[in-house]
């Protein structure tokens, strides 16, 4: 079953073309790793998949629904973990998670929140204001948010940055669990080793064009 289908997607800022005629399909339960040089448009593509931007041309279908016409339905199943952690500094970890879930019309019990925080290893910091969190802790809190949200499509923008060894292990374990549930994952990353552990397919985005990669390609030094 196809989870994400992009048909001839282009994106321009004004007259500046960033993405050229991209077509791709990602199946349910599949993890896709997206590589590319800085400024190639990886983040833009992820943001289009997250319905944050509209494509200038082309069509995007997520779980069989048009991503623009049925935005609100699609967004219930989507989650993007981006560079900014989407956390309010003045609230503590638990409050942040409750608010983030409330916006998705979900109300997890206190126990579920605690379990999620423990799973990512920051259970001890539940009552601490996020202002005092380190970058890695914020990334882990974002992971806890994903755990509570049960997305059917998870989009990750550079998930391994700021995480320590344990954090990266937790991340990959979580991704694998999510894939087993039948969700799909798309991650933009520079880390070939860590992403190879979970990715089923990969591609590289250069000059707005997407080129698929095989496992052999991933082993060589020069992707672009």
């Amino acid at each position: 079953m196809v989870a994400i289908r992009g048909l001839h997607i282009s994106k321009s800022y004004g007259h500046y073309r960033i993405l050229e005629d991209l077509s791709f399909e990602i199946a349910a339960g599949e993890c896709y790793a997206l590589f590319g040089p800085n400024g190639a448009g990886k983040t833009t593509l992820l943001r289009i998949l997250a319905t944050l931007h509209r494509p200038s041309a082309g069509r995007l279908e997520i779980l069989g629904r048009d991503a623009i016409q049925e935005r609100e339905v699609v967004r219930e199943a989507l989650l993007l973990l981006a560079h900014g952690s989407h956390l309010y500094d003045e609230l503590n970890a638990v409050e942040n998670l409750s608010f983030a879930m409330a916006l998705r019309a979900a109300s997890p019990t206190d126990r579920e929140v605690k379990v999620a925080l423990d799973q990512v290893g920051i259970g001890a910091f539940a009552e601490l204001k996020v202002r005092y969190f380190s970058a890695g802790m914020k990334k882990r809190l974002a992971m806890a948010k994903a755990i509570l949200a049960h997305p059917k499509v998870l989009l990750l923008d550079e998930p391994y940055t700021s995480l320590d060894e344990t954090g990266m292990v937790i991340m990959n374990r979580y991704i694998q669990a999510l894939l087993k549930e039948g969700a799909s994952v798309v991650m933009a990353t520079h880390d070939r080793i860590k992403s190879a552990e979970v990715a089923d397919r990969a591609g590289v985005l250069t000059h707005g064009v997407l080129r698929p990669l095989t496992r052999e390609d991933l082993k060589t030094c020069d992707l672009f």
Binding site: Y13, G14, Y16, R17, G39, H53, S56, T206, H207, D222
Partner: protein, 241 residues
């Protein structure tokens, strides 16, 4: 479809320019030379031949801005956004000149540079709304967001302007220190012809300027796009494996 109309129309811009110039020329001749001076106001009334059509044209430009903004939100075509930007720039220019010429006319006629008449205040507010619109466009970097936000501002502003006019009108009837009639000029045929000619002339001239300015904005955004692409390619080319 309407998009191709704009693109086709720009071939004929020279004709618009010429027609506008002709109307204005005729209008100015009739207005400045052939028509009689007003009984009460003397030669000063001739400013009206510029002031009134300018005011109408600036409102025309504002309406074009409003409709263009709606059109942009419907089609999301960047050329339509260039059109809106052009219309706003022209509208602010016409409004400013209308206000200044009105002020110049007012001093000898009413012995004051400014009065709190509903129309004047509405025009001053219009000027401020347009200035705010242009400032907003300057301060947003992302072209797609800039176009969207500007369109929303134009629509909200357009809906508000009649309300502004009404509220000032009511306020004026309360606090009127002296009763000044805007209709200081009675319309006779010799005055009507140049006025209408100037009105038509300015409107046609506006269309011409709109086409030219839209082209300018379109080309400059194309240039920026090419520059951006060029720079990114240079950056990527420098990366050594």
């Amino acid at each position: 479809m309407l998009n191709t109309i704009i693109r086709k129309l720009q071939r004929y811009k020279g004709w618009f320019g010429a027609a506008g110039g002709l109307c204005l020329g005729l209008g100015l001749y009739y207005g400045l030379v052939a028509s009689p001076p007003d009984y009460y106001q003397g030669e000063v009334v001739r400013i009206m031949y510029v002031h009134v059509p300018l005011a109408h044209t600036s409102l025309l430009a504002y309406t074009v801005l409003f409709l263009g903004s709606l059109w942009y939100l419907w089609t999301r075509d960047p050329v339509v956004d260039n059109l809106c930007h052009a219309a706003a720039g022209l509208s602010v220019f016409f409004t400013a000149v209308a206000l200044i010429t009105g002020s110049i006319w007012a001093k000898p006629t009413w012995n004051t540079w400014w009065t709190w008449d509903a129309r004047l205040v509405s025009f001053a507010v219009l000027f401020l709304i347009l200035a705010g619109y242009l400032m907003l466009r300057t301060f947003i970097d992302d072209p797609e967001r800039e176009a969207r936000y500007a369109a929303v501002l134009a629509i909200v502003g357009f809906i508000d302007l009649p309300i502004v006019h009404f509220s000032v009108e009511w306020w004026r009837t309360l606090h009127q220190p002296l009763s000044i009639s805007m209709r200081g000029v009675s319309i006779s045929k010799e005055i009507l012809i140049p006025l209408v000619l100037m009105g038509i002339g300015f409107s046609i001239l506006f269309v011409y300027m709109l086409i030219v300015r839209t082209q300018m904005l379109y080309l400059s955004s194309l240039l920026n796009a090419k520059k951006g692409r060029l720079l990114s390619q240079v950056h990527l080319a420098k990366v050594e494996p």
